[in-house]
Amino acid sequence: MSKVKIEGNASGTGTLTISAPNTDTDRSITLPDTAGEFVTADASGLLELSSGSPKIKLTDTDNTIGQTGLVANISAEDSAGTATWVIGREFGSTALKILNKQASSTIFETDGSERMRIDSSGNVGIGTDSPDELLHIYGTDCAIKFDDQQGSPTDQSLILRHEPVNNDLPGTISSGLMVERSSTNAESGTDIDSGICAKNFGFSQNNTSLSGIISGSIGEISTGNSASSYSSEEQGGVTNYVTTHTVTTGKTFGSTPEYFITLLGNNTSGHTSITNTYIKDPSTTSFVVVVADRVGSSGIYINWLGLNTA
């Protein structure tokens, strides 16, 4: 049985007010338990629950017919009384809703660092605080990993599925995955102009003993007598400068693969002045590209692909 009962509505306003003495600089209201204070509201507006296991519980039983909006919610309002954010259950649904009512980002942090945000336009960024697509993931190493282990033989880590509405007509494109480079604004010079670019691209059975395909590129590399190291040889009154470039694959093939290369010059003279190129000393982890060049200063890019079907 209550020892003391305080009821509001005595003045007809429906408000119960418990006031701290306004002559005291420490104007806080506390509710004590046996161990001390466990609910404190101080003059700064801080409401603190300080027992051993503080909890806030909202009894979510409101199913009033005709009610709209969020029920059992926690919200914040600005000085004008407009909600700035709300977390709660939407009436008539079991879904939890997190509402940022402002035209600004919602940010998720762990250990003092931002991990994910939803910006005001709805773009989701992971690893970036400025997402420029519906989902923008940025990472300095592996940004996305699809890792499907212990599944059945028919399981896949990633499925890109497309179901045509009707039988596709000849000439139409209907596929689960399409990589397209727009035909608008064709690139010029040495820029890569393609729908799919095999740069650091690979198929492998596992990460340490590779069987499959990997590719990569290196550049810009100097050839001729502007290279780090070169040898020179006179042939028919023309000096040929030979340079070597060791390419490491970054992975270890299970056995020495076949390597293929294409060279791209940084300018017309650099491209056409190359007289010979070939691969030397292929191994499971690297190979050497030998380039003979007639001119003294050229720059090249090397695109390479390693293929091992063993």
Partner: protein, 107 residues
Amino acid sequence: MNHELNITKIETKDYDELSNYVVHIEWDIVFTDDDGNTNTQSGGNNFDAPTTSEGLTPFAELTEAQVKEWCETKITNDGLLSYMEDVAIEKIAEELETQASEQSLPW
């Protein structure tokens, strides 16, 4: 296959307070096989501009051994020495094939 690198040319450049920084070296390498056959090839190395003057040896105090070591390290790491050894083996073989050998008189 043994080899001996000999410096033939050094080019330097001044960078702010740093004078005579070595930017280019040219050399000859003499390859000698187990039978004493030799092949000589030429080449060079380029060196990037310095990022700091700390630890640099003044030009006047450079030794031949030190400069040779720079070049040997570069051509080894760049894979050029291995290429040049292959070329030397090939050139020596070509030369031996076309070389007339002196014989003792058959009578």
